[in-house]
Amino acid sequence: MNDTSHQSIDDTITREIVKSSLAVAVEEASIVVVRSAYSAFIQEGADACAAILDARSQLVAQSDATSLMHGASLRASLPGLLEDFTADNMAEGDVYVTNDPYRGGIHANDLLVYRPIFASSEVAYFAGTLIHVADLGGAYPAGLASLATDVFSEGLVLPPVRLYERGEPVEPMLKLLAANSRTPETVLGDVRALVAGVNVIALRVGELIERHGATEIARYAAEAMDYAEVRMRESLQEIPEGRYEGHFRVDGDGLSLERDYDVRAQVEIADGSARVDFTGTSEQSPGAINASQSQILSGTLYAVRCFTDPTIPMNEGNFRTVQAHFPEGSLVNPTPPAACGGRVVSVTAGVEAIVQALSSARPDRAVAQSAIIHVYALSGSQNDGAPWLCLNYDFGGLGARSGSDGPDATGAFFLGGRSVIPQIEALESRFPLCFRSAALIPDSGGPGRWRGGRGTECAIELLDDALLTVRGDRIRRPPAGVSGGHPGLSGGFWIERTNGEREDLHPKQTKMSLGAGDVFVMRTSGGGGLGPPHEREPELVLADVRSGRVSLDAARSVYLVEIDASKSTIHQSATRRLREGLASGRDH
């Protein structure tokens, strides 16, 4: 690209200024949304997104520091909004909200908020923000309707509706939201945070338009998309052309233990583009694990991005290089009114399937299966009758990677690769809870030449009566290893009752009653291993034993490494005998 003679340095500089200003605007909005949000869920985990879109619903810029799982949703819901309220019926200061999973949304609790941005009295852009709000009705608190069988039981469905009209709140709408929530104050706080976020973007983009002119901004936005597209194509050309397949089987929908669900992906790489076809994926579930189209598209794009240059900016240019087919009536494109709240199970299965497919194209980038987020909601009422709701989550181990161990307790894949630990002092100050432990589980990472990441155990004693709802997966079938690696250790949920009895919970159990003194325990699974464990460097096994990641027993029986009881040295000859024994055993 040496033909830049038509460019002047003013162009170069202005482009950088506009690009950086757009990025700063969405980043600032995400900071505002996260900081002023009410739900602890958002504050601690940044389950949020902010974006700028153009009037044709193309993604111009997206916040960088927030969760990736919402990339496609703000983009996918905008056409519906424009269909219901045409652009010429919108006014400066209007704000709209929607959450309909069948029109680009995700599930009831993920609210998508938009504000049109005007240039010479025409809608030129939209500011968009999205967060998971604490509770918006439905059959169970916090939208954790793990056993829901339709969208209606998951919460209030909102088609695109006007929330603010010319800067003034549409009070009946706010009242409607509040009236449909178990925690009305919190939801209104979250909604105000979302609105504050779109206001920041609208202000910043407005300033840019004023300074540089609408035409110039449009030109630079188009250039940025083209630039991302060119770089995506270049990057995709580095993957050998061909058709690759991957699949992932999820634990189930919680309604029936017998029925298995598969997510299959065929990925075709050709001419600098990727075609991802989910044909062969199981039919939609009567339960809640279905993924709306925008969610699976976010996942698809994310998975492909993991095999391209990570520095390419995320905007519409990315979407142009990835075509996807989601069969109608399947787990990844259900027909209404199927429930979608538990979609993380299926979306991450889709991500795993694509990662597996592309791992076969690029074995040097291979990754074993990972654990999945485990969520719990504890709720009850205070002495004065006011409701409380503690929605929290934990991550399991990431799969082992070709060349490195899987990270412990990390939000796998597009949950952002983040680590969390409960804010125990803050939670105990707000809720009738007493944490007993929050720890990593030894031997939980799938053994392998490269070990899977460890899962976690969190034990919470209740100080008052409460209701418990959980959601987990990859327990019945823990994350598998690849190329001879072993699976990670299964997680689980249980209650230790005051009488000493242990009561195991179903991974999608809802509304369990707990009393003061009962202890709720949640374990996340370990990630799968990669390569045979007996090929792991004995020194790495020794380091794992010393740090408590692997027990002495497992070192001996699984990794075939003999380590002395003081954990200081490897018995070289004994180790050799163990490992040779395996080899000779094989020969027979």
Binding site: M1, N2, D3, Q7, I9, D10, T12, I13, E16, I17, S20, V24, E27, E28, V32, R35, S36, Y38, Q43, A46, A65, E185, T186, G189, A196, N199, V200, Y302, D309, P310, V355, R365, V367, G403, P407, D408, T410, G416, G417, R418, S419, I421, Q423, I424, E425, A426, E428, S429, R430, C434, F435, R436, S437, A438, A439, T456, A459, S547, G548, R549
Partner: protein, 701 residues
């Protein structure tokens, strides 16, 4: 002239230069600037002190105060050159550090092969104590002296150099931590032992634990360094108290710094913002933005009411990024730190073209060695300094430290690495580098202003550091700021800042209380106790101390609080109402929304200051209006200004030969002993009584 009553010595050790300033209360100032000696920083300090004592003809014994600013603690953390420390947590929570709280950001998020950062302390050195305190401070599970001794024995067996102790709810009840700390000190008499309740007793165990761990990790090294520093000072015959700049902008005794060295984490950076506050006062401005640009980074801070803004969410050791404290990077610290945003954009930052043909500057830096291409010391890549030389802003004949610059090398580097790749001539490429660097640095200013809900247009921008004054006017333009100030001693401003700050101590106590349940007497008692304990840190009568109080307030149910300052006087029912009202105002300003909800008090904070005699700068002469047009350039050279369509003959002034009251309009260049000020065409500059440059933007033509 009357003899000075007080003589002060300020020592600021930066990555590239060690600045030593000798000043007194009569306005005399002497300066020494030496290259930093990284292996043993005391070497350059020793040389610098000897040099100023000689030029000032002052005896070491007459010095009444020594203040030191150091980046040693930060560097140790960033480079992970820290002590082998152990960590003790409540039983069940020993994995806290390994679990961690962090997030991949930016490009890292698409990299499945990312490396999760190592925990600050390896799991082999993490221990658990069988004890538990609840949120209200009640002991649920006791920890006996015997049990504490047993844990201490286990810790001692691992023979760490330092021990950090952080137990759950120790902010509400520190008894168990104190017991364990005593046991560990007994078992490990040589080790640096510190408990979280001694460092910073505030709610949120993870951040408090990391603050404590970082404190322990730098403890042995900082204690040794500070004792070496004090020996050096005494060896030179200086008897004055030795003080260290602390992160929140005051100074503390070297003894306190050695006890809780994490308080020095932004010691060097804080000095710059303090200096901006001082310069602001000199020029009659109480609301200023400080902009400090050195060799490898640029830092921005905000001064309001002549006091630096302070943050309680500082991250140390993170990747230098847009904010410097984006959630998930580095280690969060709970202690108050002057709110500084830092970007990897300094004179030595390298310009390059990425695979998408975009021009980028930094964060890689050529540093002092090999340095920019124009230094002729083997640097081949173009830097911001090379661009400034090509643009005619820098004088090829001289730079601080006496380096002669090679314009030819700068040209060649810029052309090869930027010009040919983008099909630009050398001037256009240099201009691009200069402006992209400005864009990066604007991000730092944006973080401490717009991101905090502060409108920068009402502020004056104060630029210093070796490279800052070349960029200051352009940065002001980017934010629509109409005035900028550059101190006469711009190159050593941070060292001057050290001599203008007062000893101070910050404290905190957490007590989560709903506004409606607030007990004024209890709150007054909390403040009193904090203030009484603090007074013991000072070597003076309590009546000489200035106390200020504040409360962290949040809406019930939210987890992010805002700090609300209190009026002086006893805290009464009116105080509760005022705090709640001021919080609502602050919240609206910060987030643009009003909430009709009850509020909650979380943390009670005090700041105690001992006002002492500090540096004053003497006016060189009374302002003489007749000087108004008398500024005579010492020469001219071609410099590039885009509004004049390229290079124009630009007058060059020598700062040292200017007189108070001198005024001229841009374009112009003012060369000082260790800095260069660029005045673009649409700016006018005048010089005040102490020769500070006052830049004013002229209305657009």
């Amino acid at each position: 002239m009357t003899a000075p009553l007080e003589t002060f010595l300020g020592i600021d050790v930066g990555g590239t230069f060690t600045d030593v300033v000798l000043g007194d209360d009569r306005g005399n100032v002497h300066v020494a600037k030496l290259p930093t000696t990284p292996a043993d920083p005391l070497q350059a300090i020793d040389g610098g002190i000897r040099q100023v004592l000689e030029t000032a003809k002052v005896s070491a014994a007459s010095i009444s105060r020594v203040v030191h600013g150091t980046t040693r603690a930060t560097n140790a953390i960033v480079e992970r050159k820290v002590a082998r420390a152990a960590f003790v947590a409540t039983e069940g929570f020993g994995d806290m550090l390994e679990l961690g709280r962090e997030a991949r950001v930016e490009a890292d998020r698409y990299d499945l092969h990312f490396a999760k950062p190592r925990p600050p302390i390896e799991p082999e050195l993490c221990f658990e104590a069988p004890e538990r305190v609840d949120a209200g401070g009640q002991i649920i599970q006791g920890l006996s002296d015997e049990q504490a001794a047993e844990i201490a024995g286990q810790v001692a067996f691992a023979a760490p150099e330092a021990v950090a102790i952080c137990l759950l709810h120790s902010a509400a009840n520190p008894l168990h931590e104190e017991r364990l700390a005593a046991a560990c000190r007994a078992a490990l008499p040589e080790a640096f032992v510190v408990a979280s309740s001694e460092v910073w007793p505030e709610i949120r165990e993870y951040e408090r634990a990391l603050t404590t761990v970082m404190c322990a990790a730098v403890g042995p090294e900082m204690a040794a360094y500070l004792s070496g520093f004090e020996s050096l000072i005494r060896g030179l015959g200086i008897h004055a108290p030795v003080q260290i700049m602390e992160s929140s902008g005051g100074v503390m005794s070297a003894a306190r710094a050695a006890r809780i060295p994490i308080y020095t984490v932004e010691s060097g950076g804080a000095a710059g913002v303090v200096a901006a506050g001082f310069i602001g006062q000199l020029v009659g401005e109480s609301e200023v933005i400080s902009f400090d640009m050195g060799g490898t980074t640029a830092k921005a801070g905000v001064v309001r009411n002549s006091r630096p803004d302070v943050t309680h969410t500082f991250h140390v050791g993170g990747v230098a990024s847009l904010s410097g404290r984006k959630g998930g990077e580095g280690f969060p610290l709970k202690i108050p730190v002057v709110d500084i945003a830092e970007v990897g954009s300094g004179g030595g930052s390298i310009a390059w073209v990425d695979s998408g043909d975009a021009l980028r500057v930094g964060p890689r830096s050529a540093g002092a060695d090999p340095g920019p291409a124009c230094y002729g010391r083997g640097g081949r890549e173009p830097t911001v300094t090379d661009a400034n030389l090509v643009l005619g802003y820098l004088n090829p004949a001289r730079l601080a430290g006496g380096v002669e610059l090679s314009p030819g090398s700068a040209h060649e580097a810029i052309l090869r690495h930027v010009g040919t790749k983008l099909n630009l001539d050398v001037a256009a490429a240099a201009r691009g580098i200069h402006e992209i660097a400005n864009l990066n640095m604007a991000a730092a200013i944006r973080v401490v202003t717009i991101h905090r809900g502060i409108d920068p247009r009402h502020f004056s921008l104060i630029g210093f550091g070796g490279a800052g004054p070349m960029h200051i006017a352009r940065l002001a333009e980017a934010f629509d700021i109409q005035s900028a100030r550059v101190p006469a001693a711009a190159g050593v401003a941070s060292a001057l800042g050290l001599l203008t700050s007062n000893p101070s101590v910050d404290t905190v106590r957490t007590l989560v209380t709903d506004e409606t349940d607030a007990n004024c007497e209890e709150i007054e008692t909390i403040f009193r106790k904090l203030e009484q304990r603090t007074a013991r840190e000072f070597d003076c009568e309590p009546s000489e101390l200035q106390m200020s109080r504040s409360i962290d307030v949040q809406y019930v149910g939210q987890a992010h609080s805002l700090n609300v300052p209190l009026e002086s006087g006893v805290f009464g029912p009116e105080g509760v109402r005022t705090v709640a009202r001021n919080f609502r105002d602050l919240y609206r300003k910060s987030y643009g929304i009003d909430l009709d909800r009850p509020t909650q008090f979380v943390n009670f904070r005090t700041r105690t200051t001992h006002p002492v005699e500090t540096l004053s700068l003497r006016a060189k002469a009374a302002l003489d209006p007749a000087n108004g047009s008398a500024a005579a350039p010492s020469g001219e050279r071609n410099a590039h200004f885009s509004e004049l369509d390229g290079f124009v003959a630009t007058p060059v002034y020598a700062w040292t030969s200017l007189e108070p009251g001198h005024t001229f309009s841009g374009p112009g260049i003012v060369e000082g002993p260790d800095t260069t000020l660029v005045v673009p065409p649409n700016w006018q500059v005048s010089f005040d009584g102490t020769l500070n440059a006052i830049l004013q933007r002229r209305p657009r033509l």
